[in-house]
């Protein structure tokens, strides 16, 4: 498949960098034009979460709940029961962590169609520190029945995801990081919820990422191409997991490596491990935030220290490959 990725996207210097929350903000504002039953709910973060793009255009379909995330969830549920399609938008720790039980009871259990759009997922939040760097949101949503969980790979994919989520039944979580990340997909890159993207074919190892980590995996595959043939999968939808694509790739390469800006407990790595251990066990390495709280710092310093950039991830990948020759 031709994914129509950006020109010269593998070059750090030439690729455009932009925050995913920009894409989701624009996506919501664009969708509001055609979907008159769409409502956006903000919680005193509408500037930084980009809910403002919608709020400015459609003030009559925007609700400001203030710093009250539990109420935000209840309001969303009430609107959904009445046939509206609410988008609840704020930082990931407050959107998913703080009101988790109301999400479970009022949205997941009755299968209400509510779209959760976050900012501040993962270490790519930067200097705000661990309270605001949400690294457990995938675990918390993935374990709830009826949920669809999406972690777009860049701002363009975030834009497409918030639009596609309108047509999904039940609750949908779309995970965005705060800081700028490389924009390597384009308007012409296809996107389908639940369909993994094999962005690069290979035969020696399958590497799987979500969010901006997919970009680093593509760079690593390019750099190592003379010695190792790496297959790169963008698993933007973590639930439902595209087992078919995963199985086909694992059968071909016989080794799987996952990388994500999320706790290794309960994230993409766990989802892949659950699937492969039942269907086709192969050597597996899960790379990510190693079940710890991290610290403040610039995103680049955090990536370096916690090995979530290209260099660190490549080091972990090569260790894994050396152990499993």
């Amino acid at each position: 498949m031709d994914y129509n990725l950006a020109k010269n996207y593998l070059d750090d210097e030439k690729v455009q960098w932009a925050p995913m929350r920009d894409g989701s903000g624009h996506g919501m504002a664009e969708l509001g034009e055609i979907k008159k039953d769409m409502v956006v709910i903000g919680a005193d973060t509408i500037g930084s979460s980009r809910a403002k793009f919608f709020a400015d255009k459609f003030p009559e379909r925007f609700i400001q709940v203030g710093v009250a995330e539990q109420n935000m969830i209840g309001i969303a549920a009430g609107l959904a029961y009445q046939g509206k399609v609410p988008y609840a938008v704020t930082y990931a720790p407050f959107l998913i962590g703080r009101p988790w039980e109301p999400i479970r009871t009022t949205i997941a259990y009755p299968r209400n169609h509510v779209v959760f759009v976050s900012s501040h997922a993962g270490l790519a939040t930067g200097p705000d520190g661990p309270t605001h760097q949400m690294t457990e949101d995938i675990s918390l949503t993935r374990c709830l029945p009826n949920f669809t969980v999406i972690a777009p790979c860049d701002t363009e994919q975030a834009r497409k995801a918030v639009k596609a989520a309108y047509d999904i039944e039940g609750p949908v979580y779309i995970r965005n990081s705060r800081e700028k990340t490389p924009v390597f997909t384009t308007e012409d890159t296809p996107f389908e919820i639940g369909k993994a993207q094999v962005l690069r074919k290979g035969t020696d190892v399958t590497v799987i990422g979500h969010g901006y980590m997919t970009y680093f995996l593509l760079q690593i595959a390019e750099d190592l191409k003379d010695t190792i043939s790496i297959e790169v999968i963008n698993m933007h939808t973590i639930k439902p997991l595209d087992g078919e694509t995963l199985l086909e790739s694992a059968k071909k390469t016989g080794k799987v490596f996952t990388a994500e800006d999320h706790n290794i407990v309960g994230g993409l790595g766990s989802a892949v491990a659950e699937f492969l251990s039942e269907n086709h066990p192969v050597p597996l390495k899960m790379h990510g935030v190693m079940d710890q709280f991290t610290e403040s710092g610039s995103v680049k310093d955090l990536w370096d220290k916690y090995k979530l950039d290209k260099k660190g991830t490549q080091e972990i990948l090569l260790e894994f490959l050396n152990k499993n020759k």
Partner: protein, 297 residues
């Protein structure tokens, strides 16, 4: 609006039947709440048999009033009321409360019975959802066409989420919303004012921008009058403090928190041993029914 004495007596009679049915329900189930359903039977009767705009044969009618039960644990009284009001619940089905496969779950499941409007149980979440319903009605320009009613417990006012919603309803002046609190003063661990005081409840709501009414929740005339008054209030959401007697109608259950979360057959044995609790309770309700019938003649 004042109802005729005859109509009031008919409502009282129905409330007493709903109490009997509620007791039978929880006794057959062998678990569930007793005091709350008995205390709220008069309010449920007034709503379903006088105040609510609804059609039991068409429970998803777009212009129906929405009744949101926040404290889901008193659902036996809602199931009993809906049965008597002619909703699609049979006498046989009532006996399946809390059993595997039943639509009548221990806490309300709106996926199985859409007429329940919401699934509920965990406390403090109903008022937020009711606000969401009211906002949606306003966006559709339907806020004059139907009313949103939210029934709540007093204990769930200890949940912060309740106050987040109370604040929002005041901000948005949700005039199509009325919340009714079952002010029975008890919760599982004891008396509310000892566990975590709620008073002054009236002035709390008033300061959040609500209009507050108070009712004697066992005086049918007072109930129906105040419910009408609530609908007529413009520009503000309305909060009704319904002063209820938990366990109302059965003297050995009244005002006893030991009867909050257990059915007849499992209650405190100071008045009657377990095996006589249901029969004694039913005897008292039957006596009350005979009284009302003789008054009606």
């Amino acid at each position: 609006m004042s109802l005729t004495d005859k109509k009031i007596k008919e409502l009282e009679l129905m409330a007493n039947r709903i109490r009997k049915t509620s007791l039978e329900l929880v006794t057959t189930a062998g678990s569930g709440h007793t005091a709350g359903p008995l205390g709220m039977a008069d309010i449920f009767t007034a709503l379903y048999f006088n105040t609510l705009k609804h059609d039991p044969k068409n429970p998803t009618w777009p212009e129906r009033d929405r009744l949101i039960l926040s404290n889901g644990h008193i659902c036996p009284v809602r199931y009993a009321t809906m049965y008597h009001a002619g909703y699609d619940i049979t006498e046989e089905e009532l006996k399946t409360l809390r059993q595997i496969g039943s639509r009548l779950e221990g806490h309300p499941n709106a996926r199985r019975i859409p007429a329940l409007e919401t699934s509920s149980g965990p406390l403090g979440e109903g008022l937020s959802q009711a606000c969401g319903f009211a906002l949606a009605a306003r966006m559709d320009n339907m806020d004059k066409n139907y009313h949103i009613w939210c029934l709540m417990s007093d204990g769930e006012h200890q949940e912060g989420m309740t106050w987040e919603a109370a604040m929002l309803a005041g901000k948005y002046k949700l005039k199509n919303l009325t919340a009714i609190v079952d002010r029975n003063n008890i919760q599982i661990d004891g008396v509310t004012e000892e566990i975590m005081p709620l008073e002054p409840l009236r002035s709390k709501y008033e300061s959040f921008g609500w209009h507050v009414l108070e009712i004697n929740a066992h005086d049918m005339q007072d109930i129906v009058n105040k419910l009408e008054e609530a609908k007529a209030i413009q520009e503000k959401p309305v909060f009704i403090i319904a002063n209820t007697i938990p366990g109302k109608g059965v003297d050995f259950m009244e005002n006893r928190f030991g009867w909050h979360g257990v059915p007849p057959g499992s209650g405190p044995e100071d008045a009657f041993p377990k095996d006589q609790q249901f029969d004694e309770a039913l005897k008292q309700l039957q006596k009350r029914e005979d009284e009302i019938l003789s008054q009606m003649e």
